[in-house]
């Protein structure tokens, strides 16, 4: 067999985790009615700050924290510009991505190629040795389980708590939420910062745990795929999990097919995650009724309280 299904499943889970982390953050941002197209920029900043922290401190935990802080700081620029200075969200998000790509390359000069501290798996070796399900379910580091827990937490908060209800209200109609006395701007800024921290964490996972190296522009569009995943999931946290595993699976599979040299052009395999994302987006968006029902109604609209 060309591709070993068990190692593919393991790789799939690892590859999809950064997508999942970035996408769950963006889902919360979009649920509050804000479209932040700067995911790619926040991810790469998280990747570089996380990597630098890992090199300097030798601690994986501190590296993840540094990645979160990096993404959070970058997203705070977006929060101030779009919420306080009422700038166009699409343009500001693009600026965030361009700035993040440049700044990360600048920060990363002289880093890269340093061996990373090992990321330990949390389950004992005995459990990992169980055939088939052992490596798939138990053979991972803590961050992978945390990512799934984060999805569960976001789902719970959005659907079962008052805070989640307020957040969704702000995203559906900022005018109504404002009239009810909710602080639209403050809630949205917090959501943006949460999204930034998630994207930063996702980047740090990519550089510190998965690739274990810093390479310029290493996110290679993962931030954009995360944005597409939110649409794919129709703004529902659990569907995000399916989407992320689907895309992670394609990415992991195409790498293995390239290694196996089965005669499919490399360009086609390289492009396959992007092509399939486009294809799925087209299929999802063609279903008008479902999309209109789930997209936050105030998504991307500027809120300016007249009174």
């Amino acid at each position: 067999m060309i591709v070993d299904p068990i190692s593919l499943m393991v790789a799939l889970i690892v590859v999809s985790t950064p997508l999942l982390l970035a996408a769950i953050g963006e889902l919360v941002v979009e649920k509050s009615g804000v479209l932040n197209l700067g995911v790619e920029g926040m991810m790469i900043i998280g990747a570089v700050t996380g990597y630098i922290a890992a090199v300097e401190t030798g601690s994986v935990t501190l590296a993840f924290v540094a990645g979160m802080i990096g993404g959070l700081l970058l997203s705070s620029i977006f929060a101030v510009l779009t919420q306080l200075l009422l700038s166009n969200q699409v343009a500001t998000g693009l600026a965030l991505t361009l700035f993040g790509l440049g700044l990360s390359a600048l920060l990363g000069v002289g880093y890269g190629g340093t061996p990373m501290p090992p990321v330990r798996d949390i389950f004992p070796q005995v459990m990992q040795d169980i055939p088939v399900i052992g490596p798939i379910l138990f053979g991972h580091s803590a961050m992978i389980y945390l990512a799934v827990l984060l999805v569960a937490a976001v789902w719970y908060v959005l659907t079962h708590t008052r805070a989640g209800l307020v957040l969704r209200a702000v995203g559906e109609s900022h005018e109504a939420a404002h009239a009810l006395g909710y602080k639209v701007i403050r809630i949205r800024m917090l959501a943006i910062l949460f999204g930034g921290a998630c994207a930063g964490l996702s980047g740090a996972f990519l550089s510190v745990a998965r690739v274990q190296n810093w390479i310029d522009g290493m996110t290679a569009g993962a931030g954009w795929i995360a944005l597409a995943l939110v649409v794919f999931a129709s703004w529902k946290p659990w569907r995000l999990l399916i989407g992320a595993y689907l895309f992670g699976g394609i990415a992991a599979l195409q790498l293995r097919l390239q290694a196996a040299e089965i005669g499919v052009p490399v360009a086609l395999l390289d492009a396959s995650p992007y092509l399939i994302t486009i294809l799925v987006l087209a299929v999802i968006s063609s279903d008008k009724s479902r999309l209109a029902m789930n997209a936050p109604a105030a998504l991307g609209k500027v809120f300016h309280a007249s009174s």
Binding site: L86, A105, I278, L281, H304
Partner: protein, 361 residues
């Protein structure tokens, strides 16, 4: 407390003043950034903004580069600005640029070694078609399935880069290149080259096309019904629909025009300054053009000026790399910062800042 009050119409003075102030603020913030990098900030700013034009040794080389770099930026930004005005966000110009270069170069190389003077014009048309075809993918998905054009156009950049890599290492590789990646040198072969029209100025056919595009866009926006529809659709989509503007047609047109212009820019670059198809002949003009479009207020004349300014920062960045050892990526962060300041200052054009009196609710 400070309060913002919406202006009935955007302030004219701030519309022009904001970009200038943004450039000044970027210079200050950039100075701080260079100081943090251990450089003398005044020196760094001088190298970036002054030396490319007036340095006694380098200026003779770098002055023509101004037009070489501004040409593609302006050409792409003009197309993007039309869409941005209508609320159609093509941010994948980089991909259309690559596909234009590939289509045009492939056409020229297919006829190699012919030196007919008809080849270059035909290559330009092929390049335009390549960019157009690549832009039609998001356009058709948008009009048929309402797929978000931002994501599709951007994701197609990565697909285009994969195709570029396969072309440079495979189907367009120079058969006499001893196995090295990269196509035949288009710029050194009569018939497929895009020479300087006026020697020593950097003015090649792409720059001339960019100037024509500026004028055409100006006429389109101010004198033509399509320009009116573009502006109307951007400012009041509902009103536009009642006025009989067909939104689908606008998407096809705006994405099509920006694809054609980006594709031509790619072809002019690959047959002139870049010279050949290589794995990384594209240097991000498609993305920088987004900054140019905004810095120029989505206005043709503004884009012309913004393109020249942005070209200056490119050349200045190269000089700073050479003379001060500043990393190449610093200039990218610098350009991003410029866009931030500009977006922040937009608030002054659209809103009045008032000190709010305490109101008892």
């Amino acid at each position: 407390m400070i309060r913002l009050e919406k202006r009935p119409t955007p302030s004219r003075a701030w519309n022009i003043g904001a970009p200038i102030l943004a450039v000044v603020l970027t210079m200050i913030a950039g100075g701080v950034m260079f100081a943090l990098l251990g450089q003398d900030p005044v020196e760094a700013i001088r190298v970036i903004f002054w030396d490319p034009l007036f340095h006694e040794r380098f200026a003779a080389f770098s002055r023509p580069q101004l037009l070489v770099k501004a040409g593609p930026l302006i050409l792409i930004a003009i197309g993007l600005a039309l869409g941005f005005r209508a609320g159609i966000w093509n941010i994948g110009a980089e991909g259309q640029y690559i596909m234009g270069a590939l289509f045009g170069a492939a056409f020229g190389l297919a006829l190699y070694p012919s030196e007919s003077p008809l080849i270059f014009p035909a290559m330009v048309i092929a390049g335009a078609l390549g960019g157009w075809a690549w832009a039609m993918i998001p356009a058709i998905l948008k009009t048929r399935f309402r797929t978000n054009e931002i994501l599709v156009s951007l994701l197609l950049v990565y697909v285009a880069e994969a195709i570029l890599a396969s072309a440079a290492t495979g189907w367009l590789r120079n058969p006499e290149g001893m196995g090295f990646p990269g196509s035949r040198d288009l710029a050194r072969h009569p018939g497929t080259d895009n020479p300087e029209v006026i020697a020593g100025t950097g003015m090649h056919w792409g720059v001339i096309t960019a100037f024509i595009a500026v004028i055409a866009a100006y006429v389109l926006l101010n004198r033509h019904v399509l320009g009116y529809q573009i502006k109307l659709a951007g400012q009041a989509p509902r009103a536009a629909r009642f006025a009989g503007v067909n939104p689908g047609r606008l998407v096809i047109l705006c994405l099509g025009i920006s694809g054609v212009l980006a594709g031509m820019a790619g072809l002019f670059e690959v047959s002139g300054p870049a010279g050949q198809i290589t794995i990384d002949f594209n240097v991000g003009y498609g993305f920088t053009a987004i900054i140019v479009a905004f810095l120029g207020r989505l206005h043709p004349i503004g884009i012309l000026l913004a393109g020249l300014l942005m070209a200056l920062t490119y050349i200045g960045g190269e000089l700073a790399q050479l003379m001060l050892g500043v990393p190449a990526s610093a200039i990218q962060a610098f350009q991003g910062m410029l866009l931030f300041f500009l977006l922040a200052l937009d608030v002054l054009a659209n809103y009045r800042i008032k000190r709010a009196r305490e109101v008892v609710a």
